[in-house]
């Protein structure tokens, strides 16, 4: 049992990262019922944005450069997300559901290829700056400074988002648009603007997640958005897609499950070859299947019983 605290901390850091990305899926789905499959690539472009800022500031210590990298990463992610909404999804607003879905997949491939082709030396993974050191918390419990970043950033982002949706005028308009877009317009709400704001918030979270992912792994590449996006989408579904707290909860549950699978499954007699890092993705999706069997609406999802 002595590995438990360490496993929880590792899982929490991974899960917070998934949660940040999952917010992007859940915000957009909640308001336009679109699975934005290009969201993983929005994270990826943010990572390259943050890296670019770091390369502009040679010699600056990472701790000092980090805020600027965050701004750079978020700016790129928000711009890509808002542009995707304006030019790819908005023209298809009244088209059959499959059209924007396929557009999202196309956009995801296009963004990967654009970075591959035009970002300098992006055909191979590029190193991302890391702190590389760790703190001793208690006894055997250590925490990487690179993990600490996401453990601090994710709760702050969630607090801000929770306040924004519940208290601000735009947040209220966002809830109204999610529940009944036509009637929201009758209230005087410019729903096109509200949808753009939802994409922008998802983009901002993607930018933070991009920096967190870069710090954790020390390398970024044009394909990094795929599996990260898939995991985050899983987290969003797990938590109940459309619910922002569900997205973060789903991310944390998924992260801890993965960390636990890595640590513990190899200790179960007869399952030693099913443990370790190689099988963590399998256990993540097993968890998803089990949760959806028991609670199809996800952990915090509401049963969809709208409209009389």
């Amino acid at each position: 049992m002595h590995e438990l605290p360490q496993t929880l901390v590792n899982g929490l850091a991974l899960g917070a990262l998934y949660g940040l990305v999952a917010i992007g899926y859940t915000m957009v789905y909640g308001i336009v019922q679109l699975i934005n499959f290009a969201h993983g690539e929005i994270v990826m472009t943010g990572a390259f944005g943050a890296l670019t800022v770091h390369l502009w500031l040679p010699g600056l210590p990472l701790a000092a450069a980090l805020p600027l990298m965050l701004i750079g990463g978020a700016l790129v992610s928000v711009s890509v997300a808002v542009a995707a909404e304006r030019f790819a999804y908005r023209p298809l607003r009244d088209a059959p559901r499959l059209a924007p879905l396929i557009t999202a997949i196309g956009l995801s491939i296009a963004l990967q290829q654009i970075v591959w082709a035009f970002y300098p030396n992006a055909k191979k993974p590029r190193p991302f700056p890391q702190f590389g050191d760790s703190f001793q918390l208690t006894g055997s419990l250590r925490i990487q400074r690179d993990d600490l970043f996401v453990l601090i950033a994710a709760p702050l982002c969630m607090l801000a988002l929770g306040w924004f949706t519940a208290r601000s005028r735009t947040g209220r308009a966002m809830q109204a648009t999610a529940q009944d877009p036509g009637t929201a317009r009758l209230m005087g709400i410019d729903t096109d603007r509200i949808i753009a704001v939802a994409f922008a918030i998802g983009g901002a979270f993607a930018g933070v997640a991009a920096v967190a992912q870069g710090l954790r792994t020390g390398t970024i590449n044009f394909e990094m958005g795929f599996i990260l996006g898939l995991k985050a989408f899983t987290a969003a579904v797990l938590g109940g897609i459309g619910n922002i707290y569900g997205a973060m909860l789903g991310g944390v549950v998924l992260g801890i499950a993965e960390a636990a699978a890595i640590t513990y499954i190899q200790n179960i007699p007869g399952m030693s070859q099913l443990g370790g890092g190689g099988w963590k993705d399998v256990w993540a999706f097993v968890l998803l299947i089990v949760v959806l069997l028991v609670r199809p609406q996800g952990l915090l999802g509401e049963r969809v019983a709208d409209r009389a």
């Binding site: 005028r169 809830q175 009637t183 317009r185 209230m187 005087g188």
Partner: protein
């Protein structure tokens, strides 16, 4: 005579190739109740949705308070003083009653005025005040109708459009809603009322128009239509 508050001429609206409204014209004078009655599919709701900007007209003109309304997006129409309580009530189900009312005043910035108007709605419909913190989706149909009307009033409209406020309500609840509409008119609100319940609507209205498959086939004062033989046969179930 001053110009009417709302003036619709030759209005045509189509869904793809199907024309739902085929060139109708009517006016609504300030301080009056005007009703459009007719069966399902007559084009009444389509007309209201076009007036509030949710649908684009194919032809004709709409003038509201002296300015053309065609082409103004829905979210700007309410700012001009035209509020729409939609068919089927469409309250925001997961927001509270108070939040629904706040959204009705979305474009207003006068906090004190909004608070005062919310109080006024609670006076009009005391049950809403008692349940202010309750999610709108948990209300009964009649209560949701009250909320939808109250929410539309929160923009302080010059013209209030009500689409089938009596739909699905018990007779007692319906009477209550109709009384409220009369009170609103007496308080100076101009009302355009769409109803399938012709008896109730015509008893209340200053003017009525009967719609059939996209056209106005009969117009007159409420009393005239109420005593019109054709109307009695077709809409009041007499033979």
């Amino acid at each position: 005579m001053t110009a009417p508050l709302l003036e619709v001429t030759g209005l045509r609206v189509a869904y793809g190739k199907i024309e739902a409204v085929k060139g109708i014209g009517f006016t609504v004078e300030e301080g009056r109740i005007v009703t459009l009655i007719g069966t399902n599919g007559a084009g009444k709701t389509t007309t209201l949705r076009t007036l509030s900007g949710l649908l684009a007209p194919r032809g004709g003109s709409i003038r509201f308070a002296g300015r053309p309304l065609a082409g103004v997006p829905a979210h700007d129409v309410v700012a001009l003083g035209l509020a729409h309580s939609p068919e089927g009530r469409h309250v925001f189900p997961r927001l509270t009653i108070a939040e629904n009312l706040q959204l009705g005043a979305f474009l207003r910035r006068d906090k004190d005025g909004i608070a005062q108007d919310i109080k006024h709605v609670y006076e009009l419909f005391p049950i809403l005040g008692e349940r202010a913190g309750q999610a709108a989706g948990t209300l009964s149909g009649g209560e949701q109708q009250m909320l939808a009307m109250g929410r539309a009033l929160m923009s302080r409209p010059r013209l209030l459009m009500l689409d089938e406020p009596s739909m699905g309500l018990s007779p007692i609840m319906m009477q209550k809603i109709m009384e409220t509409i009369a009170r609103l008119r007496d308080g100076g609100t101009t009302i355009l009322l769409v109803e399938q319940n012709a008896q109730a609507a015509l008893s209340l209205a200053d003017h009525g128009h009967v719609m059939e498959t996209g056209r106005i086939v009969l117009s007159g004062t409420g009393a005239e239509l109420l005593h019109n033989e054709k109307v009695r046969k077709a809409y009041l179930g007499e033979d």
